[in-house]
Symmetry: C2
Subunit: 202 residues, 2 copies
């Protein structure tokens, strides 16, 4: 629309943005097919039709690509409406977490991030940051439950979030038991009972 | 002691066993230093003073080495004595799991196995097998608790094991919060409360 851009500024939708989108799309495709150790920068360049030098200079390593993918990830928000009970609220959250992890593109991405975080400091920090943002989503329902006297005051939202999510991540990563709605339901039921008993008061 | 061996049989303590031990030791050292993606077969051969061809032929890939390391892992058993309460028994188990994961050699190995399992079918199967063996260790204390009426009959030992362990694995892998004794204690307290409430009945 007649906009002009100073040299060196980033133009949204410009060549840099298109290059990045193509490379991230190719990286994501490869992760779904082959997992983290199959993520080869030369193959990303080839599939994205982007110069190898550009890919190496911009991301440096497979872990660098995964960090950028995670930053770009649009995660569906947790259900926001007040639920009838704390357990209902946790169940709705657990089902959303399960959906994310079971998603055909997001599941492999989460696995790749965890794999990258085991051996790359930037990926580990990106994963911690991701979790911090996610934990903030759990505060409203824990606060409401404490206000209604369903759980003790001082119940920690981070502990509740880990209690509900960790068994689901465990299933994704260890492949131990199916990552189904029953698993999400059990996780929510268990965390609600433990929270009512005061196990997450800090 | 004057034993003889038919050609082609494995001699315990013989050259094959020494080669394997040296290679696994080198692989384990590299995992502690660099993590899974830093595990290079040529470097294993060099450090173990074993021919590269031998290492490539025997293990084939970094994931192959990790699978063999896991098979070789001697895990300290869970505490066996009857505890005063179910919660005490879970706490003792949780502290043992925490010790394994926080161990300077076992921690990096567990991370490597999870990383390998995200992209290698044999590693994924080895990890599932490892968990099946571990879950069996939890049956006695869950059975005793059901017999004493502390938890409902039908409480599933596998669900209890995952409930106690998953938040600790999550801390190891996501680096979210310290992997300390307080975390183990909280995990045990939460799982005991949930089990008493019947959340793990299948």
């Amino acid at each position: 629309m007649g906009e002009t851009h100073a040299p060196g500024t980033v133009r949204p939708g410009g060549r840099t943005a298109r290059t990045r989108a193509a490379a991230l799309r190719a990286a994501s495709d490869i992760l779904v097919e082959k997992g983290f150790t199959g993520l080869d920068l030369a193959e990303v360049a080839g599939r994205a039709k982007v110069g190898r030098t550009t890919v190496y200079r911009r991301w440096g390593s497979a872990a660098g690509l995964v960090v950028d993918l995670l930053a770009d990830l649009s995660v569906p928000p947790l259900p926001d409406g007040p639920a009838d009970t704390f357990e209902d609220a946790l169940r709705a959250n657990a089902l959303t977490v399960r959906e994310r992890l079971a998603d055909a593109r997001q599941g492999p991405l989460f696995k790749a991030v965890v794999a990258a975080a085991t051996c790359d400091a930037r990926a580990a920090e990106a994963l911690r940051r991701f979790h911090r943002v996610r934990v903030a989503e759990w505060r409203p329902c824990v606060r409401r439950a404490a206000e209604r006297g369903e759980v003790p005051h001082g119940t920690d939202a981070g502990e509740v979030a880990v209690a509900v999510s960790a068994p689901l991540y465990h299933r994704l990563l260890a492949g131990f038991g199916p990552l189904d709605e029953a698993a999400a339901d059990r996780s929510a039921r268990a965390a609600a009972a433990a929270a009512r008993a005061g196990a997450y008061v800090r």
